[in-house]
């Protein structure tokens, strides 16, 4: 009997069966009830859950341009620690990822870091200005093979520009990932518009500013028969529109962030900008609608919208502070807390929402594969019975703007494998040189 590189013993697969996973080189070579042959490394995983490596469709890696906040390397390490084997780097870097040159640079940096796949997202419009289409074809045909296009941080608000983008990307099997935010309705907006904003005197960001764009864009997508993805859905009304669009057969997918599954707008009452995020934290009512929609599949995926910012961008007055919060290292724990521990979802559904479906939306063929013989060995081993305390001083991101500092969260990522290589061992990310 030939020796294999790694055997992961006794972990529970997403479908609930307990098996041993055999890894040789970059691939899973067998999934068997009880592997008794020789292996170079044995990973004892009894009591753990093993999922296909997580795939994030919405990550801000900040490089090039804001390496003080995050680099492709530091973001990759944070991702690995969180159980991810693929990230999608948003285009709002400096320079903007609106040319083949920039997306190839980001792609190459991801390869060099080597912790996971970094798939660049291309800007829909030049400079994210919402006016002229960026070099969508050049980015699609580049080494980075871009399929997801987004002006995230900005809404493609001009309906004609959005229509043209939706049409044009069809040539490349692409998808437009829309940041749904009507800009005129949200000038200087600071937080969800409602009872809390009225009390705090912070300018409101109304739910309708998200819902109006979603409604328009599903209709446009239907009209030109294209593919649309809605970034960070936050409102109960938005859920209803997506549900309607899907029932009508429109090719739309939607994501929710972990923070919108857990946190609510009343946290702004501290005026601590660690809770300032765009789109903003909404109400308890919205949180429940989002959880239900994620469970029933109306919302297809969880995406982090990991948004690192340097200390000074958050250590200030609320209205001066930057929007965004860290997400990679806590995403799986938040999903366990809100969806698994509440009994709303199974681990199999988590595998779909955080690995299989995001990979399918992004056309990441080597990612999001079922854990079966012949699949790439991208996987994460989680101990769902352990918990951990979030400490912003210990995060692997270059930034520390996590809203969960001091929170006790369930679920510890014990091991992450990226194409057969172990990037996280017993909860620790391997150092760069050790690969």
């Amino acid at each position: 009997m030939n020796s294999i590189d790694v055997v992961i013993k006794g972990a529970k697969l997403p479908n609930g069966t307990v098996s041993d996973i055999c890894i040789q080189g970059e691939h899973v070579v067998d999934v068997v009830k009880d592997y008794s042959g020789p292996a170079t490394h044995v990973v004892e995983a009894t009591g753990c859950v093993v999922l296909p490596g997580l795939v994030d469709l919405h990550t801000h890696l900040r490089e090039p341009g804001r390496e003080d906040a995050e680099t492709v390397l530091s973001g990759s390490q944070a991702g690995a620690k969180g159980g991810f084997t693929a990230l999608s780097a948003m285009a709002n870097t400096s320079p903007v990822a609106d040319t083949a040159g920039v997306v190839e640079q980001v792609y190459r940096l991801g390869q060099e870091a080597g912790y996971l796949d970094v798939f660049p997202i291309g800007a829909v419009t030049q400079g994210l200005r919402g006016e002229a289409l960026s070099e969508i074809g050049a980015m699609a045909d580049s080494v980075a093979r871009v399929r997801v296009f987004s002006d995230d941080g900005h809404c493609v608000s001009d309906p004609l520009v959005m229509r043209r983008a939706l049409e044009y990307i069809k040539k490349f099997d692409g998808v437009v990932a829309q940041h749904a935010q009507d800009p005129r309705m949200t000038v200087d907006s600071q937080m969800n518009e409602g009872i809390v904003s009225a009390r705090l005197g912070l300018k409101g960001w109304p739910a309708v500013a998200e819902e109006a764009i979603i409604a328009r864009d599903v209709l446009l997508t239907d009209h030109v028969n294209s593919r649309l993805h809605i970034c960070h859905l936050t409102t109960a009304g938005g859920v209803e529109i997506i549900r309607w669009a899907k029932a009508r057969g429109i090719d739309v997918t939607a994501e929710v962030t972990p923070h919108h599954l857990l946190l609510t707008d009343d946290l702004a009452g501290s005026y601590d900008p660690v809770y300032k995020v765009n789109p903003p934290l909404r109400t308890e009512h919205d949180v429940h609608a989002l959880r239900e929609a994620l469970a029933d599949g109306t919302i297809d995926i969880v995406a982090t919208d990991h948004a690192p910012h340097p200390l000074e961008a958050k250590e200030c007055e609320w209205q001066e502070a930057a929007f965004g919060m860290l997400g990679l290292e806590t995403a799986l724990s938040i999903v366990q807390k809100t969806m698994i521990d509440s009994g709303m979802m199974s681990w199999e559904q988590v595998a779909e929402r955080m690995s299989l479906t995001p990979a399918r939306i992004g056309r990441y063929a080597d990612q999001g594969q079922q854990l079966a013989k012949g699949a790439f060995a991208n996987l994460v081993v989680i101990n769902p019975t352990k918990s951990w305390r979030v400490d912003r001083d210990l995060v692997l991101s270059n930034s520390s703007n996590t809203p969960y500092h001091g929170h006790e969260l369930p679920g510890v990522v014990e091991h992450t494998f990226f194409k057969g290589k172990q990037t996280v061992i017993n909860g620790e990310v391997i150092s760069k040189g050790a690969k």
Partner: protein, 315 residues
């Protein structure tokens, strides 16, 4: 009580004791020697990151009448984008040994940020933060109302107050709604629907769009300043139309109740939200609000920095 950040943090008895203390301190101010030695050796910094000569002068006079040393730190137009950060400013004040910082800032929550941070250890008094709150203004308004309409009483039970104008952007309105209702008054907000916040239904107040139907029933009409720039933001068509529906002019004043009063936190736009005849009429207590402002701010500093209040009749 260490800070005064929001009326929300005050209990009814906290508020009453500040008003009672102000009442006692006002008696002192009426005497020949206006100054008390209470805060001798204490340093109070007026940190004004937004223009407001009136409020700053009022706090300065209050601090000086209590014998405190006053430093005016005017960081005009200051924000992170325009220079020193709030954190650096706070650490500077800490290094100077400020016992209290009176802060006026264009950002909602700036006073709370200062108080909650580890940047400085002194007391923080919110002298107006963005469109959030202006607690000392509400306290002086309550003091003025009590003096005129509830002499001898502690609270404002049985009174009805109309707050009229740009409620959406008004920190004065937010603080007054909280304080006046806490003290037992009934508050009616009168404004065009565009100038009321979404979520106002959760406030302890009722709402009316019709000033004329409200006027005959209220004991106090409190007018709010309308900023000229609101017109370009589409909140109302033009100044004349605003004035026609929501301005307090001599004609409207005629339908006011016997003994009712007119208030305005200043600065006024004469001819827009209030006519000159009304502002200068016998019903107007607007200049008295300014006078009372000093006593109330003395009381705030007194309570925060000595940790005690004065009771009625004490010396």
């Amino acid at each position: 009580m260490r800070h005064l950040l929001s009326i929300e943090d005050l209990s009814k008895s906290d508020a009453v004791s500040i008003l009672d203390t102000a009442h006692e301190l006002a008696r002192v101010s009426d005497g020949a020697v206006k100054k008390l030695p209470t805060l001798r050796g204490r340093t109070i910094v007026n940190l004004f990151a937004e223009d407001s000569t009136r409020t700053r002068i009022s706090f300065e006079a209050a601090a000086k009448r209590l014998s405190a040393d006053v430093i005016n730190f005017s960081a005009k137009g200051s924000s992170v984008s325009k220079g020193e950060s709030l954190k650096d400013t706070a650490m500077t004040l800490q290094a100077m040994g400020a016992d209290a910082v009176v802060i006026r800032h264009s950002a909602s929550g700036a006073a709370q940020r200062l108080a909650d941070s580890q940047w400085m250890s002194g007391s923080v008094v919110n002298a107006g933060d963005g469109t959030h709150e202006h607690p000392s203004q509400a306290l002086l308004d309550a003091f003025t109302i009590r003096k005129h309409l509830r002499a001898g009483a502690h609270d404002l039970e049985g009174l009805t107050v109309a707050i009229v104008g740009d409620v959406l952007h008004s920190r004065v309105a937010r603080s007054n709604v909280l304080l006046l209702s806490k003290l037992g008054a009934k508050v009616i907000l009168v404004a065009p629907p565009t100038l009321l916040p979404v979520g106002v239904e959760s406030w302890p107040a009722t709402v009316s769009y019709d000033f004329d139907s409200v006027i005959p029933f209220v004991d106090v009409v409190m007018m709010l300043r309308v900023q000229q720039e609101r017109m370009s933001d589409l909140y109302f068509p033009n100044a004349r139309e605003y004035s026609r529906y929501f301005g307090l002019n001599a004609d409207r004043m005629k339908s006011m109740k016997q003994g009712s009063i007119v208030m305005h936190p200043g600065p006024m736009n004469r001819g827009l939200e209030i006519s000159a005849e009304v502002a200068d009429s016998a019903r107007s207590v607007i200049t008295e609000q300014v006078t009372n402002g000093v006593s109330v701010r003395m009381a705030i500093l007194y309570v925060l920095l000595t940790g005690s209040a004065l009771e009625a009749g004490s010396n």
